[in-house]
Symmetry: C2
Subunit: 206 residues, 2 copies
């Protein structure tokens, strides 16, 4: 029992690394099994297909990332401070990836969204749900800031979508230039999106 779940974890870990380094389309099950050091028969014991494996990798990654986002967004800190920390954490995460493996890995969900284009509808559906969840998490904090009169947005849902789009676009550039420092403009940009016009480096006040 310990042995089989060990094999499953090996496959998940190898798949995650390979998806991050080489994308989804170009990978085959044989190659994933080889990298995991697991026979191909084990693969089909745990996963129906490469798509099934990708769904599991996505869910595992979102479970971890959702926890990170909740830790930052669901606190007693000022709403604008919580949003600022989300973007700082995004930069720190990409910096850590570059420090450990030499490359900015980008956002797994954004990478897969652009790569799979018109194929793999199950994956696309799951990615849509994840981005909806991210927008909802950000929107809740934007609403809190609006209730306090700190931001000037007419539509909190649109504002949250623009902020997540800004995050995805800037992460794309951080990856393309292999430069996590690209992300230090995320928070000033999102303050502008929210109509917060004062100095973006100043501490947020009540």
């Amino acid at each position: 029992m310990g042995r089989t779940s060990d094999a499953k974890n090996k496959i998940l870990t190898a798949a995650r690394t390979l998806f991050e380094q080489r994308g989804y389309s170009a990978l085959g099950v044989a190659e994933i099994c080889k990298a995991a050091g697991v026979p191909k028969g084990s693969f089909y014991y745990f996963f129906e297909s490469k798509e099934g494996l990708a769904l599991a990798v996505i869910d595992e990654h979102w479970t971890a990332e959702r926890r990170d986002w909740e830790q930052v967004l669901n606190t007693d800190a000022e709403p604008l401070q919580r949003l600022q920390r989300l973007f700082e954490a995004t930069e720190a995460r990409q910096q850590a990836a570059q420090d450990s493996c030499g490359a900015v890995l980008g956002c797994m969900f954004g990478n897969l969204s652009l790569e799979m284009s018109n194929q793999a509808d199950a994956l696309r559906g799951r990615l849509q749900e994840i981005f909806e969840a991210q927008v909802a998490m950000v929107e809740a904090v934007v609403s809190a800031a609006r209730e306090r009169g700190e931001v000037a947005v007419a539509d909190t849902h649109e504002a949250a979508r623009s902020m997540v789009a800004q995050l995805e676009g800037q992460v794309l550039f951080a990856k393309l230039y292999n430069n996590p420092a690209r992300l230090n403009t995320l928070w000033p940009s999102c303050r502008a999106l929210l109509g917060v016009q004062d100095d973006p480096k100043a501490p947020v006040h009540a």
Copy 2:
């Protein structure tokens, strides 16, 4: 002579369609030649490798897109109107793709940026140059608007980068949701990024 350049065009057209539909990594030269109806020998007469072909496809696409951007951005219209038209044209182009082939194709440069991650340095370098050129084109118009006192940005280069990032992020979502109408928030978001606070639907005045 007419015959060989015809073969080259067939390869470029087939490659462009296949890159858009299936991405770069998963494609092989044999498959591209088959779709183009051209023998593999011809391929290596025109292109050194799949990467060489991809560079040619990227350059051809950027030549056309740069012309579109220049037509919109280098006019005598008000600066803010020129920027607004750029985003409207982006939405119209994705809508046209969806109308003709059923799918929002996204931005070829963004798609390739996220897909190729750490491989293919020649392609990455070229994509970096293209995004730098896009940022410079947008920045020129943002500067014109700032000279007229119409926008409130401290750093026009940062503002232009945020606008192109916003475009890439929103195009990512338009592709993921196969919904070009997602892009109708691009201009309001970019007005906010520029610190233009009035009604985004109102006509821009001098």
